[in-house]
Symmetry: C2
Subunit: 369 residues, 2 copies
Amino acid sequence: MAISFELLARDGMARRGRLTTPHGVVDTPAFMPVGTLGTVKGLLPDQVRDAGASMVLANTYHLHLRPGDDRVARLGGLHRFMAWEGSILTDSGGYQVFSLAERRSISDRGVVFRSHVDGRMIDLTPEKAIQIQENLGSDIAMVLDECPPAGCTPAELERAVARTVAWAARCRSAGTRADQAQFAIVQGGLDIEIRRQCALDLTALDFPGYALGGFSVGEKPEAMAAALPACADALPSNKPRYLMGVGRPEDLLAAIGSGIDMFDCVLPTRNGRNAQAFTRHGELRLRNACFRDDAKPLDGECDCVACTRFSRAYIHHMFASHEMLGPILLSAHNIRFYQRLVGGARVAIQNGTYGAWSRDWLVGDPQVP
Amino acid sequence: MAISFELLARDGMARRGRLTTPHGVVDTPAFMPVGTLGTVKGLLPDQVRDAGASMVLANTYHLHLRPGDDRVARLGGLHRFMAWEGSILTDSGGYQVFSLAERRSISDRGVVFRSHVDGRMIDLTPEKAIQIQENLGSDIAMVLDECPPAGCTPAELERAVARTVAWAARCRSAGTRADQAQFAIVQGGLDIEIRRQCALDLTALDFPGYALGGFSVGEKPEAMAAALPACADALPSNKPRYLMGVGRPEDLLAAIGSGIDMFDCVLPTRNGRNAQAFTRHGELRLRNACFRDDAKPLDGECDCVACTRFSRAYIHHMFASHEMLGPILLSAHNIRFYQRLVGGARVAIQNGTYGAWSRDWLVGDPQVP
């Protein structure tokens, strides 16, 4: 087995666990910073590790197009290429094919699409998605799935789910690396019964882990939060559960309370590049003139380099002057913020106080910033 | 005295010294990375320090316009603002007024110019230049000078030099901070006699240090190299000598051989952002496709994070993908390269082998990259 997963504590539906991969231990609930092209944007690997992250996500679609997974393999695999000694999860590329690629056509066989980088036509089948991820050498590979858009018809939804299950079986058969674990992806939109059946069909294939895909694709956050407990509960309890692409701090807290173990999202780095800093008491927009003379740290509760060394006034000045250090500092802070958030959740679950802790966290204190 | 300077060794005209400021020791010959707006672009202060730099340069003109030196003073001074615990030298703003400002008019009183940031008219006198730098709280402040363009008439040159001497005297009188040392600036273009007289006039004012300005302003590098020994020799031997805004590695080696102690230049960071890496054996352009599959380190002789953790192929991929980590890694490498260059020069001077060492260095081995 490439990975093992141990449940250390439960608190209601919330779970405190430990995932072990060929590249180390990942304490869950865990948040994976996103390193789309083999870099968590703006940060050195040591800075990502120092922020508390032990696993990052990289994008199969992007790395396949550039620099090419075959090239990454020749250069020693993705860990070595990006100098990241921790664990790596790669997505299957399916989500990007549906959201980014031009002129795609989908069939039971797979997807054909036009590269947004150089215009060539690319063929992505379940087998190919696994081959690419084996070239990258990630610790966890995601199966190729079809992610139906929010608001599609029931017939479209059912067809996408059937295809997702069939593709998962083909991925499972295509895997050859003993040091890489595959996670299956449950689709089904907001339809609990379809999700439950999809989870049942995938569980029969006995994957080392399971993900919920197709959330955060345009539906209301409350709709996701309402569907999550039943969706998570349909997954095997002895395997890690990963909610893909989610999300805001409040979404993470709700999902952890529903029994989710793993998360990824571009928000901390993307918002950081846009001068937005997460704090427990609200988001700060550092381009605002109100910070021009503010000698306070970004977040008095944070121990990151941005908060311990610099003032809000300095970070404002960096953004006002279009200096790279602005995005660097806020990316470092936001990544640390998310790690502190899941770290706090882990402690609360261990202590059996997750419900009160997360309610308290969500209230914050709007007066603090 | 805000600073002290000790000569530890001589080798021909080359000097090995130790400058002590209120913020620590600076071994000379020294190279100061440029932190125009209060940040060495793309790097955290610890990364600059880890590269071996103990002093940085910040730009009075830029910081006066944004965020404002009065604001920096209220926020605790420039060291605290930019979280740099080492020494800081600030230029006087004169050079930028002549190269960047719009609608400037110059008189014996000073310069009036239009801000390139917000269009307001700004009055810069010698007294004001010192007041701004005292607000910033740098360890070394530069006097306001008039930098005549290469190729100006002898009359223009003489008038600029006379004004530079008169302004230096006014700066000296205007200084009030005991923890800030002023350096005078010798002008005179390529005219050795005018430079010598300017140096004599300024030496009579007994400054703690002296700079050569008006080089690297369009003249041929060989013309500068030819003029440097006599120009450096005209400066007091017991005071630090600073060659402003220079330059390429070969320029530094020639200048060190002429008795210069201090340097600053934007080349390492600017070239780094443009995908150019300095090595002893030539400059590498990391955007070139030839690096796509190159598993070698950037520079096998370097101990920086870019060279010890990543391949050329990865750094090429960062630039091809417009990732911030490309500029970050090459800025870190180039800053480290310049620090290794002056570090090597210090050792060679100490050993009495500077001539051979610098000739050997310049030959390099073009086969290595």
